[in-house]
């Protein structure tokens, strides 16, 4: 078995002068669930299309389970299933026909890999899809369900998901999360590009953050939180001390008797400063992924 489910080395895609993806080095181990974040146009979809061999890189290379994405796409695709953010399907086919077609295109009887039809039917029931309808008559969310089922039913070693829940309602979003956890428990690798930070936070072991084509952050949420600022909130009865000069402390906000601030690195200097005053309540919490994400893009805390 290959050491990495996904591995890229200096993977680059340029359109003229614009680098849609700039020297991406990324390694995803088998069995990992990795979230891939970034604002619109950061290069998330470009990364995925390069990994799938739909577009070719201007530099560097990518591998899926040790198979070159450009030179061995068919072999690589036997090991993966892909969900795009936009469900472009054949309008004249019904849901059932689409699932049959996509299942047969993925694996056939006799070729060693094939779709488990019982599991497919279970997924159809779980996502409450009416497979007798034509794709033309489906809503956006229902088309997305077809494409999700088509990917999940393969139980492929690697799931590549590009904003897979766009258009799904909260109940279906829960069904999706359940399916991804199932996949992880079975040992499947999941590469999840998403805008929905709570989704990534709930599902992913590691998170990569992309900015203008460059990977600016990659690690577990715990690591990223450790490197990032802690939010501290203190309530005083007496005089409020001046915390602005304390090493590591920033963004001090005073709101009546409550002081909020961010602290980076060791917290000892802040505790010393607080001990001198009359603190009645002290709260501290780790930043949410949303705060980490916004911090990366200069949007606030």
């Amino acid at each position: 078995m290959a050491a990495w489910a996904i591995r890229t080395e200096g993977l680059t895609k340029r359109y003229g002068d614009v680098a849609a993806l700039d020297h991406l080095d990324l390694e995803v181990a088998p069995g990992e669930v990795v979230g891939y974040l970034g604002p619109n146009g950061a290069g998330k979809t470009t990364t995925i299309r390069l990994l799938l061999g739909l577009i070719s890189p201007t530099g560097g290379r990518g591998e899926i389970f040790g198979l070159d994405c450009q030179r061995q796409p068919v072999q690589a695709h036997r090991r993966l299933a892909y969900v795009p953010g936009e469900a472009n399907l054949w309008p004249s086919l019904t849901g059932a026909e689409t699932l049959r077609l996509l299942g047969r295109a993925w694996g056939r009887r006799g070729s060693g890999v094939r779709v488990d039809e019982a599991y497919r039917d279970e997924l159809v029931a779980r996502f409450e899809l009416d497979p007798g309808k034509k794709v033309r008559a489906y809503s956006k969310g229902n088309r997305q369900k077809v494409i999700l089922i088509a990917a999940l039913m393969t139980r492929a070693d690697l799931l590549v998901l590009d904003e897979p829940t766009s258009g799904l309602d909260p109940l279906m979003e829960q069904a999706f999360r359940g399916s991804v956890r199932e996949a992880r428990d079975r040992g499947q690798t999941v590469f999840l590009s998403s805008h929905i930070l709570s989704e990534v936070e709930a599902l992913c072991d590691r998170v990569g953050i992309l900015r203008q084509g460059k990977l600016v952050e990659l690690g577990t949420l715990a690591e990223m939180r450790h490197l990032s600022a802690l939010t501290v909130e203190a309530t005083f009865t007496g005089a409020i001390p001046d915390l602005s000069g304390v090493p590591g402390v920033s963004s001090v906000q005073v709101d009546g008797r409550v002081v909020r601030c961010q602290v980076r690195g060791p917290v000892a200097p802040l505790l010393k400063a607080l001990a001198a005053a009359d603190v009645t309540e002290l709260l501290s919490r780790e930043p949410s992924l949303e705060e980490l994400f916004l911090a990366q893009y200069g949007g606030g805390a």
């Binding site: 299309r49 799938l52 061999g53 739909l54 577009i55 070719s56 796409p73 068919v74 072999q75 695709h77 036997r78 993966l80 892909y82 795009p84 936009e86 472009n88 399907l89 054949w90 309008p91 004249s92 086919l93 019904t94 059932a96 026909e97 049959r100 077609l101 996509l102 047969r104 295109a105 993925w106 694996g107 056939r108 009416d130 497979p131 007798g132 309808k133 034509k134 033309r136 008559a137 494409i147 088509a150």
Partner: protein, 527 residues
Amino acid sequence: MITWLTARRAVRSGVIFGYIFGAAIASSAISYTRFYKTAAQRDALAAAYGSNQATSALFGPAPQLQTVAGFTVFKISMTLILLGAVWGLLTSTRLLRGEEDSGRWELLLAGQTTRRRAGVQALGGLGAGVVALWALTGLITVASGLDASVHIAAGPALYFALAMASTAVMFLAVGALTSQLAATRRQAAAYAAWVLGVSYAVRLVADAGLGLHGLIWASPLGWVEELRPLTAPAPLALLPIAALTAVLLAAAVHLAGTRDVGAGIVPDRASRRPHLRLLGGPIGLAVQLVRPAVTSWWVAIAVSGLLFGLIARSAGGTISGSSVQVLSRLGSRGNGTDAVLGVCFIILAVLVAFTAAGQITAARSEESAGRLDQLLTRPVSRSRWLGGRLLVTVVVLLASGVLAGVFAWAGAASQHAGVSLPALAEAGVNLVPPATTIAGAGVLALGVWPRGTSIVLYALLAWSLLVVVIGGVGASHWVLDTSVFHQMASAPAVPPRWEANGVMAAIGVAGALIGGIAFKRRDLQGK
């Protein structure tokens, strides 16, 4: 707002077609003055075509061939009438139903308007497109009429342009109505195309000298013919044209208000029992996807073949002496039935070539709409997908050719025309190589300039067609050689030229190979 948005696009394509119309008219008129200089030559031409029922059935009657005006009408008007109709139905279904399909229409309707009012505004925009088409055609015709040897006055020139634009108006209205009936752009265009096909068939029978000329009034294309521009103008025939257009437009606007946005009047069944047999892989999918369009083409080819066969004997009987010489200019030799079928098969070749072009644009639209991603991200290689599509295309084309031959034979045999089935089947297969060249060029474009695939295909087709129609009178062989239809021998009038066919097939295969390699290496591209 809606008027402006629609008008902008309608006028743009109206201007392009106006240029094509004008250029075709001007070049017909001028070529006549070059090639038929003396009265004797003109009399011979009139003797050949004046009472020739085969050409009358296909291109309309040919009075006054001794004059530039009469010749121009005969030479070009049927082509322009058909082209105008196709432009009209495609433009209106694209800008009405197509906009609705894409969801843009909903954005407009969310503004301060009603569905009916929006419909009227869009039709106003389409009207601007027709005016552009008519104005440019008229302008170029008037300008070429100023030439001393051509000598056509401004009034008759503008009336001629009006006659040519009138089919565009009627089929714009037909397309507007079918856009209300059908739930998709393709379906709307198909309904309108059927109306056009039936109109042409009725007109063809009326002009075939079978004693059924009264039928001409049963076909909208017949009314245009009865306008008789440049020869014996009869503007009264504008009445049924205007009446039909008004009725169709009123019905379209009425229906636009009664139906839901995005839905059609003819119910599109949302559910059906799955047809799983074909969906085992990319080839099966290709067969399932192209089936509706190919069925329509096959019916069109079979019906045309049958009609041509039916008229061949009686029309062939009118050909004699100088007729044969003139027909030979169109590439047809031999006598009687075979000579007529030789010319008719050029039209069948055009239909087969259109079928080929449709197959390649359908393949490209799989890519541009993003559906191809679904297959190529599974263990399906690009060569397997494209190879499958091309295999289906080749089978479709061969079947189209055989179908053309067999149905022409059936028609001719029913009239005891004394033609053999093997000879006509061979003539049918002879239609395939030009279509192969067109398809190969399309695949080449798909590989190296994907967004231009349909432009390349239809430009090549239109060019080949125009060269045959206009150039038959005697253009330089360098120009003629660029037309795939000119390269094709006019079987069954003459034996097929298998070397030329081999070259055309080889060009097609080479184009497909180079295009296929380029497609394998390039990035997938959406719209």
